[in-house]
C-alpha cells in the first residue's frame, strides 16, 4: 500500500510533463504561469486560514468542551459508552489536528486495537474538517453567502459519525 502511494506522485508529475512536451506545450513557461496563479491563491487564502486557526485554537485552549462534557460523563458511564469518543466526534468538523490528537490519546490509553481505538480510527478516516474546508474554499474566491452548504456538510458529518459507530460495532463489536 505504501509503495503504491510513493510511486503515484512521481508518475503523475512525469506523465503530465511528458504529455505536455508531446503536445508541444512550452512546459517551463506554462509551469511559471500556473505557479504565479498559485502564489496569488496563497495570498487569497492566508486571511481565512489565520482567522480560522486563531478562533479554533483559542476555543480549544479555553477547555470549554471538557467543561461541558464533564457533566455528561456519569450518563455515558451508566450506558457503558466510551466517553472519550464524544469530544473527538464534536471536534472532527472543526479541527483536523485536534481530533487527530484525541485519537492519539485514545490509542495511548486504550490501544489502537480496542473497540474505541478502532472507532476513533474510522471516525478520523471517514470525514474531513468540514468547517475548515468550507471557510478555505469559499474564502479563496471571496464567497460570503454560503447558502445551504454548511448544514448539508454537517449533516453528512453526522451521518458519517453514526455510520462509523454502527459499522465499527458490526465489524469489531
Amino acid at each position: 500500500m505504501n509503495t503504491i502511494s510513493k510511486i503515484i506522485i512521481p508518475l503523475f508529475v512525469f506523465g503530465i510533463i511528458f504529455y505536455g512536451v508531446k503536445k508541444k506545450v512550452n512546459v517551463y513557461d506554462t509551469f511559471l504561469e500556473g505557479a504565479r496563479d498559485g502564489l496569488i491563491m496563497v495570498f487569497h487564502i492566508a486571511p481565512t486560514i489565520i482567522a480560522m486557526v486563531f478562533a479554533v485554537n483559542i476555543f480549544l485552549d479555553s477547555n470549554f468542551l471538557e467543561g461541558v462534557l464533564s457533566f455528561l460523563k456519569p450518563v455515558f458511564n451508566h450506558m457503558h459508552l466510551p466517553m472519550d469518543i464524544v469530544p473527538m466526534a464534536l471536534l472532527r468538523p472543526i479541527s483536523g489536528s485536534a481530533s487527530l490528537a484525541i485519537m492519539n490519546d485514545i490509542f495511548l490509553n486504550y490501544g489502537p486495537d480496542s473497540f474505541i481505538g478502532r472507532l476513533a480510527s474510522t471516525l478520523q478516516g471517514c470525514t474531513d474538517t468540514t468547517i475548515y474546508v468550507l471557510a478555505l474554499y469559499f474564502g479563496s474566491i471571496r464567497i460570503t453567502k454560503t447558502r445551504y452548504a454548511l448544514p448539508v456538510g454537517l449533516f453528512a458529518d453526522l451521518m458519517g459519525i453514526i455510520a462509523a459507530f454502527i459499522i465499527t460495532f458490526i465489524f469489531f463489536g
Binding site: 503530465i16 505536455g20 508531446k22 476555543f59 470549554f64 474546508v133 464567497i143
Partner: protein, 197 residues
C-alpha cells in the same frame, strides 16, 4: 454562517476562560495563534505553488480534459448544470482522484482551482452557486480510500493490524458522502420546483 461560528468560538473561549480563571492561557493564545496560522500557510505554500504550476501544464496540453472524461458519467450526474467541457470538471476530477488516494496536499490546490473556475461564471461573486455547494459537500465528506495518516498513527502505536480500519472507513465515508449528496440533490430539486434560483 461561518460568520456566526467564528464569532461564537471566540466569544465562548474568552467568556468561559474568564469564569474559570484561565484567562492567562487565552491571553497567550491570542498572541501566538496568528503565528500558528501563518506556519500552516507557509507549510502549504510551496505545495500549492508547485501543483498549480504542474496542473497548468496539464490544462494547456489537454490532459485535464482526459482526466475528466474518466469520471464523466459520475460528474455529469453530480453537476448537471455544468457543460461537459467545463474547465472546472478537470480540476474536480483531479481533486476527487487525489482525495481518494489520500494525497491531501495535492487535493487542496486542485479543489481551490476548481472553485476559481466555477467562480468565473457566477453572476453574483459573493453568493455560492449550486455546483460550488455540491463540490464542497463532496470535499467535506472527504471521500478517502486510504486514510494514510490514521494508518501511520496506528502503526506507531503498535497496532496488530494497522490497515484493518480501511474497510470500515470506506463504508462510513461512503454513507456520509451519499447522505450529503442526496440532501444536496433534494434541496436543489425543491428549489427548482418552487422556481427559486
Amino acid at each position: 454562517m461561518v460568520n456566526v461560528i467564528w464569532a461564537s468560538l471566540i466569544f465562548i473561549a474568552i467568556i468561559y476562560s474568564f469564569f474559570t480563571g484561565n484567562i492567562e492561557t487565552i491571553n497567550n493564545g491570542i498572541l501566538t495563534h496568528a503565528e500558528t496560522g501563518l506556519n500552516l500557510i507557509l507549510d502549504m505554500m510551496p505545495l500549492i505553488i508547485l501543483w498549480t504550476g504542474i496542473m497548468k501544464i496539464a490544462e494547456k496540453s489537454g490532459l485535464l480534459e482526459v482526466f475528466s472524461h474518466f469520471l464523466n458519467p459520475l460528474l455529469q450526474k453530480l453537476f448537471p448544470s455544468l457543460p461537459k467541457d467545463h474547465k472546472a470538471l478537470g480540476y474536480i476530477a483531479s481533486n476527487i482522484g487525489a482525495n481518494m488516494l489520500g494525497l491531501g496536499s495535492a487535493a487542496t490546490p486542485f479543489g481551490l482551482k476548481a472553485m476559481e473556475e466555477l467562480q468565473k461564471d457566477n453572476p453574483d461573486k459573493t453568493c455560492a452557486t449550486e455546483p460550488m455547494i455540491t463540490f464542497l459537500v463532496l470535499n467535506t465528506a472527504g471521500v478517502t480510500l486510504i486514510p494514510t495518516t490514521v494508518i501511520a498513527l496506528r502503526m506507531m502505536s503498535n497496532s496488530a493490524n494497522p490497515t484493518e480500519i480501511i474497510i470500515t472507513s470506506i463504508l462510513a465515508t461512503t454513507i456520509s458522502s451519499i447522505s450529503g449528496l442526496t440532501l444536496d440533490y433534494f434541496i436543489r430539486k425543491n428549489k427548482k420546483r418552487r422556481g427559486v434560483k
